[in-house]
């Protein structure tokens, strides 16, 4: 079961002339209808807009459970979905927490909390 080509290039998105920014699949802007969408590359740095910690996963995340599903407001605008591994130190995620994309996950946009030094863990 493959996801096709969508989502395999992480942190790629589009920005519309009206400012609407998205990491999902769009050929026109859902806000203003603009078709000329500029491709952008996201920094991967941002803050948690909302989240949940799941103990009952679907088939894709059996090995990760419990894990957090997070929506991240990126520093440069736009909000993308991702996940975080169960935290061993520092407790669960929180709304407003600074996070950073971590490359190399087998699937999805994996994030980790960013500590004061700017390093992610």
């Amino acid at each position: 079961m493959g996801p096709g080509t969508l989502g395999v290039l992480p942190l790629r998105g589009v920005r519309s002339r009206c400012g609407f920014t998205s990491g999902t699949f769009l050929l026109a802007c859902p806000k203003c209808g603009e078709r000329d969408l500029a491709p952008i590359e996201f920094s991967g740095k941002g803050r948690i807009a909302s989240f949940t910690v799941l103990s009952v996963p679907g088939e894709e995340f059996v090995k990760e459970a419990p894990y957090a599903y997070v929506l991240v407001d990126l520093d440069e605008g736009g909000r993308i979905a991702g996940w975080m591994a169960a935290d061993r130190t520092g407790g669960p995620p929180a709304i407003g927490m600074a996070v950073q994309y971590v490359a190399g996950a087998a699937q999805g946009n994996r994030f980790a909390r960013e500590d004061a030094s700017g390093a992610s863990r």
Partner: protein
């Protein structure tokens, strides 16, 4: 437009079906026709909804249902709109009958996946989300609504006990509904002791995985002037959509599709929220009942959480919500849910709701959401 009625309605008990979705769909269709006092050959078109037919290795249910009803030549189509599938079918039926294309249309929804375990069911349900951009990032339906619940809680201070009060109320209603999946009351203590599925949502915040089937017959007043049951007049049949993925919506604390569909419905009917006597809303999770009451316009944003806890939405409250037990406790056989909400209104209007009969029956509203609100239906019903 012709005045259009729901003239017959029927449902199976929700929970576990002893037979296939196809058999249950055919059986409830005949029962809905019987309630209307009509024969299958009076049907001009059939809309069937069955989201997870592939789990039974069966799609193209329409011709099977129609053949089983002895009307093989009647046209049919499958309507899929995730959890709002059969209310989308009802909308199409309304359009065909009100527009004069057919005099009577059958709408049926059925689902069976109790043969799947928790993991498989969770994954089947997640197919209603965006596979590469939500599911592959770890989303499940409890997870998506939990993400909304956390945002709502952060913005408005929505309390655990307020979510729990909705579960307690809907279980109390379902305990009085012989068609409900769960026919048992729960206490707030039971709610609070139940395990967290996706924080902050607990087991008792969630609708269950249910099998079930429900059907309605929609007909023009001028061609079916004397149905066997008291008909529901369809005062409004409205649908709306919104940006599919949660992360692409500016706002996480409400469902824009509900607001748009409600505005359309109230305009169509020339009615306002104040004139609605009771509601069946899409409470797939307790937080969703709060969202519904706010987005439908019954409470300002951020203020509906108290409605359950204060008894406003109880059976004998000033605004009964989900007298059937709702998706939470009556159950949520995805493609049957939209039509089953209308079955509840039909039973209430015919004074057949027994111990869960609501006191006032002027106008009823049904609200049915697809996924996290990529699609939504709102219907308003009144008396002839």
């Amino acid at each position: 437009m012709r005045e259009t009625w729901v003239v017959g309605a029927a449902t199976t008990r929700f929970g576990r079906l002893p037979e296939s979705a196809r058999e249950a769909a055919t059986r409830v269709s005949l029962a809905a026709l019987d309630a209307a006092g009509m024969q299958p050959r009076e049907i001009g078109h059939t809309f069937v909804s069955n989201c997870f037919g592939v789990a039974e290795r069966q799609v193209h249910l329409g011709p099977l249902v129609n053949t089983g009803l002895g009307i093989p030549e009647v046209p049919s189509a499958s309507i899929e709109s995730a959890c709002s599938s059969s209310s989308a079918g009802l909308h199409e039926a309304f359009v065909r009958v009100a527009g004069g294309f057919d005099d009577a249309v059958l709408v049926v929804g059925a689902e069976r996946l109790s043969h799947l375990d928790t993991l498989r069911s969770t994954s089947f349900f997640a197919m209603g989300a965006d596979y590469p951009f939500e599911t592959r990032n770890g989303a499940t339906f409890p997870g998506l609504y939990a993400t909304i619940a956390n945002a709502h809680r952060h913005a408005f201070g929505t309390k655990e006990e307020e979510l729990g009060a909705i579960a307690v109320k809907n279980h109390a209603n379902a305990a009085r509904n012989p068609h409900a999946h769960f026919q048992k009351e729960i206490s707030l203590a039971t709610y609070l002791a139940s395990p967290v599925i996706a924080s902050p949502l607990r087991l008792y915040d969630c609708c269950p995985f249910s099998d079930g089937a429900a059907a309605v017959v929609v007909a023009a007043r001028e061609t079916t002037p004397r149905p066997a049951s008291e008909p529901l007049v369809i005062r409004a049949s409205a649908r709306s959509g919104s940006i599919a993925d949660l992360q692409d919506r500016p706002e996480l604390t409400g469902l824009p599709a509900t607001r748009l569909a409600a505005a359309k419905a109230f305009r169509q009917a020339g009615l306002s929220a104040k004139e609605v006597s009771f509601l069946e809303v899409h409470d797939c999770f307790t937080i969703a009942e709060i969202l519904a009451l706010e987005d439908l316009g019954f409470f300002p944003k951020g203020e509906a959480a108290r409605a359950g806890a204060e008894g406003i939405t109880a059976r004998d409250g000033s605004l009964p919500v989900n007298p059937s037990g709702g998706l939470k406790a009556k159950g949520h056989p995805v493609a049957a849910t939209g039509v089953s909400q209308v079955v509840e209104v039909f039973e209430q209007f015919n004074h057949r709701a027994g111990a869960r009969q609501v006191p006032s029956l002027e106008t009823a509203l049904t609200h049915n959401v697809g996924a996290t609100g990529g699609s939504c239906s709102v219907h308003l019903f009144g008396h002839r």
